[in-house]
Symmetry: D2
Subunit: 280 residues, 4 copies
């Protein structure tokens, strides 16, 4: 499916402040970037860096002070593979590629070590496989209220499992922490998301499972708010700490980000499918 | 029912250390102390104090150094009132005696404020009354493993709700925190407990409810380990912080406490009853 | 010193909501209430209760819905005793009246158990006595920024010691937690406070020390924002959980409280004195 | 300096359990591995993996049950660069290579976001550069007691800053968290450490600074227990979550690890130098 998307970010500072952005979409077989523009005003020098292990694309601007406007647009062709959920299994720890091990470890906002017993007592008896991760998402969706203003930038999965309210970021963190506690590697994904309303940057997660064509990352959205087939990846990380859309190293004023996305052709129906971004 | 009980505590220190103990049983209409002995070796001066608002009995020993042995025995007649659980209701906050309000507030180990959403989303839709507090106990009993060595003196209800393991103290703290979050006053009880195995000091909790004879405290034991009709109260408090059986203000070695209790007559069957200590 | 003070509180609800208030001042030898009015609109029934162990005065209103206005005024003569700080010592744990022990225990917002090593390593080597508690206040004043919007109703001393920002409530909680960890009983005081700007309910703490006339509670204000001789006590408690000026058991809108206080005669200079409220 | 080192690890399980180890030393210009042996009993298949972004070497053994013995030895030539501390500066955030950004983010055990104000109020006014990171280490060394049994596998920098006791892992976590809060990238290092007594795996940290030959990682050991010139790197990570010497995915008994290291030639005196592992 071809999608057109973009964002517009505005800031102002009274002195020199460095900004790092992660708003450009990733590029991989299942997500082809057809066209892309990035414009910045004033016309400052940008430094770009793509993180080799994740494919995340960062750029830095050193604003001397005054207003800053960032405008990004892209046309992307997203062609995820769609597998049959019943053919997607978990992978034994004796078999897991060692390279995905870092996604089993606890991280700042996904303290899987502290959620170990909770996860095993709540989900340990479920049938393993895609359906178990899906059951984790259903549980989060049922027991955690989607509500702004309850969580903040310091809220972690350990808080959310008890406080029972949060936004997409908190839902993803909790899903990741539970999966890791169950021995399933999981990671955080920031994305442009079709049909998210109101439009904004979205957060979902991926779990590493064994599909019919081999081990792969599969996407899960415990908020159920966006179209899982209409996600365009920006950042991949252990948790939100690694993929903030903007990191501002100093005092700044900001307007709420404007984010948009539209499908240029009808979206395939993926609701009963296991969605694999098709990265390799 | 008449019970005989006691404890034997041993310590040693290398220098002067004050000790405060709370091992003597309370005395009230439903718990008559027939006979009691307290012996201490060496023969040090004891200071006694009974807390007016709780009836807790404390004594202090200032050990100059060396060994300390405390031996306490009592014969007690316990005659709790037994009500029909279906006749025990919750009390609206508009109606609650103001004097029990302190047992609605969060305390060190029972952070009802942090468990608010969890409590309401898990238990908010239950029928109110004795049966709801009982359902809280069933939930704790099902989802929290009774297991030593996982929790410690700093473990609170906020930890236990996620870590899902603990001992009687942790079970009681979680029950109290959930009740308070649901608007039900609840407090911590330390006790000698019939049929607890291995014998030890026990912890349960009381919730303030409206029984057929008026508002009263009812006892609940989420561990389901002891006989609810065979509890002999030692201390009542906001949580364990207030009713430690011993508080030691300095370095000391201690042996595990020896605790014993036996029924001097057959215990009544209280399993389907709401047990009210009969304090007023 | 004679003071005139009061507050005006306004709320509105769409349905029946019980409110409990603790805004009326205490009455004891050093704080004589000369005149007092409490008016409420609409004209609803009030239930009053004074907590025996603290002297806190609570009242409840069950608002059927609609607006609620509470207006309280009092004229109070405050005559604290003023001792020489160098004559105020700490009290050995072997000597402390057992009745103040509850103020040594950790509470919801004053986790002295978790601050134990911090307190001892930071303040353990100070000269004991009034000056050590004063040094605790100086430390808080120097290292914690007085700043709104950083802390909230769930913030505790354990958070503040690291987050290093908060309001009077957080300053008092940290002072209490440190004192308890050092073996000094301490408790939370809510008060009307002369020269606090902008005027609001204030929070300070009291520590239990041995003065020239025997053991007594002495007041400390780590914010240094108000006149320690011009405090009029409202509530005394283990921490803020027990002495909220209003507790609202349901959804309500509220206006910021209006609080006022003025001296009816020149205030004595107490800056170099140890202020003892003169309660007994 | 040439060093000989090794470890001996013993486990036993009653059923199949996968183990992942990270005990083999890294190989880079300043740390040349001259000779190395790894033996395992029983003779099971090993899977090896070296993490590209860190150089960490992991291997996995799937133990079918029964005893497991791992023995590793290496002879290594360690030739760190030694810079003059006064010539080592901090790097402005506007200038930092984007590739080290992940080491500025908070991680599971190094919650720099929660320590932000603490770090800035305690160390914000120090002269920047190598000496500031050294001052952080001095502070940790002075205020945190090196003591076993206080911290555990869940203890984080946020706990340690208040609980004020821990082991090398906790010291390193706190150093890292403070540095990140000050805007200095920092990462966790596990190592064999000369003169550590009793011998064990050690943990230190590295901070990214601008030396006389360009930006580089410099090593810091807030425990002051080992010889900074005699460290042989095993693992590099965001924190201890990523570089456990063993990760055991199931129930197992273990003996305390035997670890040894000896210098094959006199160690250079590096005490007044800034030690740079010389990785590039």
């Amino acid at each position: 499916m071809r999608l057109k998307l973009g964002c517009h970010l505005e800031y102002s500072t009274t002195g020199p402040v460095p900004f790092v952005f992660n708003v450009e979409v990733q590029s991989f077989p299942g997500q082809a970037v057809e066209q892309e523009t990035l414009s910045i005003s004033p016309d400052l020098r940008l430094e770009h860096w793509t993180m080799p292990e994740s494919g995340n694309r960062y750029f830095r601007v050193n604003l001397p002070g005054g207003p800053l406007s960032i405008r990004y647009t892209a046309t992307v062709n997203v062609t995820p593979a769609l597998d049959n959920p019943t053919e997607v299994a978990e992978i034994a720890l004796s078999n897991l590629p060692l390279s995905v091990l870092p996604h089993l470890y606890p991280s700042r906002y996904c303290q899987s070590d502290k959620l170990d017993r909770f996860a095993r007592s709540t989900f340990g008896h479920f049938h393993t496989g895609y359906s178990r991760v899906n059951a984790v998402c259903n549980w989060i969706n049922e027991y955690v209220a989607y509500e702004g203003g309850v969580s903040d930038a310091m809220t972690s999965a350990f808080d959310t499992v008890t406080q029972r309210a949060g936004v997409c970021r908190d839902f993803a963190h909790l899903g990741i922490a539970i999966c890791r506690a169950l021995g399933i590697p999981a990671r955080y994904i920031s994305a442009y998301a079709l049909r998210l309303y109101p439009p904004d940057f979205h957060a979902v997660f991926e779990a590493f499972l064994a599909g019919p064509h081999g081990p792969a990352w599969y996407v899960f959205d415990p908020t159920r708010l966006a179209d899982p087939g209409g996600l365009v990846r920006i950042g991949v990380g252990r948790d939100a700490a690694e993929v903030a859309f903007s990191t501002i190293f100093g005092p700044a004023c900001s307007a709420p980000p404007e984010v948009w996305i539209e499908a240029l052709e009808p979206a395939p129906d993926v609701t009963v499918k296991a969605v694999r971004p098709n990265r390799a």
